[in-house]
Symmetry: C2
Subunit: 358 residues, 2 copies
């Protein structure tokens, strides 16, 4: 008697579930006339199940449109089969463009291939309390975390402390055991500058970024190294370290072009800045590339359709993203041999804005 209400509850629960039309493994087992574990093993192929039973179970599963409940499987298996993608502190508002492409192209393709889900974590904000991705780690909501951009070391440590691996994309965080994947900014700037030098330019303007953070420092370093290696002396008057936006680049490069001994070529460390430089050249009545050569860096979509199309150093965001994703997968699988920093090389895309010295 005591079991009757329980039975009844169970029955009504089942009915309710059927109405919501989600079939559980129990339903499959029942339809196939076997027990629940047998059904499980028949579908997963872990034990000695006879061919006829297996077929019966598979047919029942198909007929009921059975799909294993994700939460139940995760709980039992201890893995969530998903990773968090975290936009770093430097990501403007929502995801910045670089990140967007890297993540959704490169990262996405790798994770999709192996069936790992990607959770978009809320973008980081400077805050004293732990960002959501730390909680995700502690709740074992994800198996791994991919942070793109700037992130505080203590939060990375908190996530690692929960036993969840972290990979950092497009940034370096010192003092944490999280591998990083970065662009070779130094090499890219070197390549761009070298290209201009090879064309015969010696007065080369530099539209760079503030050197108080890595990107600015590295690109400036690459630029300087290329000049040094070529035996060309640097002229501080031709170097502008300014905010990364087209308007600032427009104004500042306009000043460079107004100099008595103006540069015959300009390297801008971002394509956005290069667009500003192109506008400044137009405003100064200079034609590209015959009067002024311009090289950008990034290879944004627009670069191919400017007039003339922009010569630039392509940052291979998809490769960066895919590399980071693969490293994270290896860490999740238990490997502990990841290199601390992986640098992705750039690619010079020669289009129409560069030519021989006038």
């Amino acid at each position: 008697m005591a079991r009757v209400p329980a039975r009844k509850d169970k029955a009504t629960a089942r009915l309710r579930r059927r109405l919501r039309s989600a079939s559980s493994l129990r339903d499959v087992a029942q339809m196939a006339g076997v027990s629940l574990p047998t059904a499980s093993q028949a579908l997963n192929g872990r034990a000695r199940i006879s061919a006829v039973t297996r077929k019966r179970v598979r047919d029942a599963a198909r007929r009921l449109r059975y799909t294993p409940n994700a939460a139940a499987r995760r709980l039992k298996l201890g893995r969530s089969n998903s990773v968090a993608i975290v936009p770093g502190l430097n990501m403007t508002g929502i995801f910045s463009d670089l990140f967007y492409r890297a993540v959704l192209a490169g990262v996405g393709s790798v994770f999709e291939e192996v069936g790992v889900r990607m959770l978009i974590a809320p973008p980081l904000r400077p805050a004293s309390s732990a960002p959501p991705f730390v909680e995700m780690a502690q709740a074992r909501e994800v198996d791994g975390i991919l942070v793109a951009g700037v992130v505080e070391a203590r939060w990375v440590r908190a996530a690692l402390g929960a036993g969840i691996p972290v990979v950092i994309l497009d940034n370096l965080v010192s003092g944490v055991a999280a591998p990083a994947v970065v662009n070779d900014n130094t090499g890219g700037a070197y390549t761009a500058t070298r290209h201009l030098l090879d064309l015969g330019h010696t007065r080369i303007g530099f539209i760079g970024a503030a050197v108080d953070y890595p990107f600015g420092r590295e690109t400036h370093g690459g630029f300087a190294a290329a000049l040094r290696d070529a035996g060309v002396e640097r002229d501080p008057a031709l170097e502008a370290l300014i905010p990364v936006d087209p308007d600032a680049a427009f104004r500042r490069s306009g000043e460079l072009l107004a100099l008595a001994d103006r540069p015959s070529a300009i390297f801008a460390v971002t394509d956005k800045q290069a667009l500003g430089v192109m506008r400044a050249a137009g405003a100064a009545g200079l034609s590209i590339p015959s009067d002024l050569s311009i090289v950008g860096m990034d290879d944004i979509e627009l670069a191919a359709t400017t007039d003339p199309p922009l010569t630039t150093v392509r940052i291979r965001k998809d490769v960066m993203g895919a590399t980071a994703a693969r490293i994270l997968l290896r860490l999740i699988a238990g490997e502990r041999t990841a290199r601390p920093v992986t640098t992705v090389a750039n690619e010079l895309i020669i289009r129409g804005t560069t030519g021989g010295r006038p």
Copy 2:
């Protein structure tokens, strides 16, 4: 005796977990000296728990850095507290720009506020087998699904059949019980055209999209309606229905501008096309807006920084996204009163490319 091995297993399992440094509710209860359900209720506040016990449990939880296991909670509660974001068939490769902004700004802000996770589903591809989001629905991996763009009705039906609500963003799918949120393309085109008419233009060129899909039809309809309402006769020679890309717009608008009685204004249904029109104007030696007024539609980031800055009809993608997210949340909460289609109004942004008739 029979229980001894079980006890031992339990103990080693606990030890292993502690080594991986994830503490469960059982650990918290033990440290607080209460039973497991008491600990649960103390933390969730569902039952009459004395203040001292509650404090003891809370302290223990804090000391152990306890975070409830996400999978366990989901399994028990039957909700995953997460939604899938699905890039539709028309999303180019990865997410197209419109979608990207709408989703990550508007959609994201709403879901973040209520603590709902966003899963990025793999982009849809034409295929005979069910796309991943259907499986997610059947596995109850998500509580709701937000599809952005084109999607086959049968897959939407499959997801709905699993009892998971679906909202469609930026597209209309007939014959399914999924609410849609779309831009008011007709009204936007009307507004843009009306703006030009108000400035005194009567020969207005139309750079539109193919009318065999909704966006093209609707924008053309809005354009035509504005002319009709103003009593201006349409001239088929001034209307170009072409692919949505800057180069096609450049070429085609160049032809319009070469006509003997060329238009004094052009409405391009996308900003990308408007950029092409601006280039064509420059190539034809026409100055903007004195010789030619131009209106675009979308308000892409670049629109504010062209020379002169582009007058355009802003598609409020963030509002679209937020609206879709809120509708989905209501459906998840069990409400069944959603309007089939929600249209989001546009906003005319008057910048520098429009002026009175020359």
